[in-house]
Each structure stands twice: as C-alpha cells, then as structure tokens.
Symmetry: C2
Subunit: 211 residues, 2 copies
DNA sequence: ACCGTCCACTAAACGGCAATCACCCAGCCC
DNA sequence: GGGCTGGGTGATTGCCGTTTAGTGGACGGT
C-alpha cells in the first residue's frame, strides 16, 4: 500500500532528460520566450517553468543566463555568416555582392530582431568579462567576408572615397542604423520600409562606389 | 542639557533640502553615476547614497527610477535640439546645414553616450507604458528641424533619389548606426573616427544629393 | 542481492534590485 | 498648545540570478 500511495505522488518530478536532450529542450524554450519577451523578459524561472523543471536545473547545462542566450545568438549569427559566404561565392560583380550582402543583413535583422539586438546593440548587462567570444568571433567572420568583398571593389579602383576599411564600416554602420532604429522605434512615422531600404542602399553605393 | 545632548546626535539625519533644491541635488548625483556606470549601474541606492539620503527619499521627488533618468535625458536632448535649431537659423546653404547637423549629431552622441543610448537605442527595461513622452517629443522636434532642412534641399530639386522623408531618415539612420556601433563595440578595429565621420558624411551627401 | 558512486534534479536560501509600507518628527497655522 | 503637513526613515515585499546542500534513481562491481 505505501508504495502505491507514495510513488505516483513523486511523479511530479520530471523524469531525467535522456542524455543531452534536456539541453536542447532548454534552448528551444529559451528561444521562444526570448523572442516573445526580449532579453529582460526571458528570466531563468520562466524558461525553467516552460521546460517543466526547477530553475536550478538550468545550471546543470549552462553556466549562467548569458550562456543560454549567447548560444541562441550564435546559431542566429551563424545563419547570417552562411548567407554572406554563399553570396561571396557567387560568380557576380563585387558591387552586386555588396548590395546583396547589405540587403541580406537588413533582412536578417528584421527577421531575427532579438538575436540581432543582443549581438549588435550589445547593451550593457551581460558580457562583463571575456564572454561572448564565440559570438563576437562569428560576427567578426561576417564582417571579414563583407570587407573582403569591398576590398575587391577597392582593388579595381572603384572606391569613390575613403579606404577599404572606412568604406566597408560606413556601409555596415549605415545599414545597422537603419534596422536598429526600425527595431527600437517602431512607432516612428517611417517612410515605407522597402523604400527606405532602397534609398539607403542606392545612396550608399552611389556615394561610396564609382560606376 | 538634554537638548544639547540629543540634537547633535540626530544630525546624522540629513537636514531638509530647502524646498525644491533636493530635486536638483538628486539629478546631479544621478547624472554623475549614470554617466559613470551606465543605465543598470545607476541604482536607486547608489544615487541616494551619493546625495546622502535614504533610497526612499528619492521617491518623494520622482515617481520611479525611469523618471529620474528620463529627466536627465531630456536636458541632454534639449541641448541637441538647440544645436539643430541654431544651425537651422544660419544663413547658409541647406546642404551645408544638413552636413553640420549630422556632424553635430555625431558629436553629441559621442559626448553624451549614455543619454544618447538611452534615448536612441531605447532598449527594453523602461518605457513600459506611455512614459518617455516628453523625451520622445524632444527627439521628434530634433528630427522635425532636420527634415525641414532636407525639405529645403528637395524643394530645389537636388535630391538624387527617394522622397524627402526617406532621404532624411536614411541620413539620420546612417549616422545613428555609426555612433551606435562606435559606442557599443569600442573594441572593434575601427578605422580612425575622423575618417569614418568624413567618409560617412561625404558618402551620404554625394549619394543622396546632387550638386 | 547489496553497496558505493555518480548524475540529473530539487527546495531553500542568499544577496541585490525597485518599489511600497507604516511610521517619525520638525515647522507652520490656527 | 494642538493638529496638520511634508520630507525623511527602516522594515518589508516581490522579483531577479545564482549558490548550497541534499535527494532519489540508475548503474557497475562484488
């Protein structure tokens, strides 16, 4: 009697996550809440509740909260890197590549707003010390692929002004500014997004590259 | 005897801040800590300690933490608005005005990094409901002055591409992106800041405005 | 069958945060 | 003097991320 009485009650405890499966569960739940409620809204307790375990259990699989969110960002940025690399490999004009990369960058940011903001608007609150290394390395790789394409333009003498670095960084910064403002100020009376994208890209390329 | 014995001991308590002076003291201390330690580093307790009162005392003068920081931002943005208005009133070419405004915008952001980020990188954490109204109104005024100058350019048919709005917003966004990245990614291997500013402004004006 | 060891997990607690509560006391008006 | 008011306080609440001590089941050796 005692066994049949007590055992079912203890089943409130979630069974062990078969091997490393629990880690994936946590990442999935964290991404969902993170996308739905942003960085500060995604608390350890909410994520743990979603998975169905105690908040402490998350510390079995991740050192701290930042490690969870950084891992989510890593996979997002890896996607951007793949996109850039794929464009870089195409057999087309370097200027066309740059335009495609910047356009893909904008698309990526608008489709992955929270991951984008976490990586590229990197507000204080996390990082603290050398964390974010892997994520930053991925971001750097994205920039490297991009700057190399700009270098191809510079090599043919088609940079209207500035160095390869300053031109590449200006283009990147301009597109970053556009999506950052679109994401953080959604209530502003913006011109139609498509027109903004077009004007920004046309202006940048016409302003920095000679035909 | 009793009076001379007791009164000096109670002087541990800070005397009343004569009228509305305490409010100014708080704003001053808050700005100092806010600039030194950023948004999350500026806690109610630290500010109160700096002033020499209990944390509760701050709630006598401000509804909550956000109200303190927003008021600091207001004065910073008001400074930017004065700068823009002053440039707008000069008897010079509209294109030159736009360049001066964008350059002043960048200077302002780099000199008031925390206020700038709070207003223009408006990360979640505050706002929640209709707060930030006054601050946003000031920001809108800055934009209005700017967009009217761009409109002057458009009126003379010198906009190379896009509408007045999309051109003005692209220029603003591009400069925002530059300073936002400079502020949030200070460890990146940037080109020299002066060169970046020059390339960005030259590129934008050459890309969006015909001579 | 039994015991030790590990491992995924838990409840409880810690310290810090913003914000609220009940209260205190000096100065003022009547 | 007596009561009111307003700037001030310590204690408390309810979150947060994180830590600690411990629990229970699976597994391997004997």
């Amino acid at each position: 009697m005692t066994t049949t009485l007590k055992k079912p009650q203890r089943s409130a405890r979630k069974p062990k996550g078969d091997g490393h499966m629990r880690r994936g569960e946590i990442l999935l739940a964290a991404e969902r809440i993170f996308l739905a409620e942003g960085y500060h809204g995604a608390t350890i307790r909410k994520i743990a509740d979603e998975v169905g375990v105690s908040s402490t259990a998350l510390y079995m699989h991740f050192r701290d909260k930042d490690e969870i969110l950084l891992e989510i960002c890593d996979s997002a940025i890896a996607k951007l890197l793949r996109s850039n690399s794929e464009i870089s490999a195409r057999p087309i004009d370097a200027v066309a590549k740059v335009r495609l990369m910047l356009d893909a960058y904008i698309t990526f940011a608008l489709e992955n707003p929270n991951a984008y903001q976490l990586v590229f608007c990197g507000q204080s609150g996390l990082v603290s010390e050398g964390k974010q290394q892997a994520t930053e390395a991925l971001g750097d790789s994205c920039y490297d692929v991009f700057v190399n394409t700009v270098r191809d333009i510079g090599a043919t003498g088609r940079l209207r002004t500035g160095t390869v670095d300053s031109a590449a960084q200006s283009m990147w910064a301009a597109c970053h500014g556009l999506v950052a403002l679109l994401l953080t100020k959604p209530t502003f009376h913006w011109a139609p997004t498509q027109e903004l994208r077009g004007v920004m890209l046309d202006g940048l390329l016409h302003g920095l590259v000679t035909d």
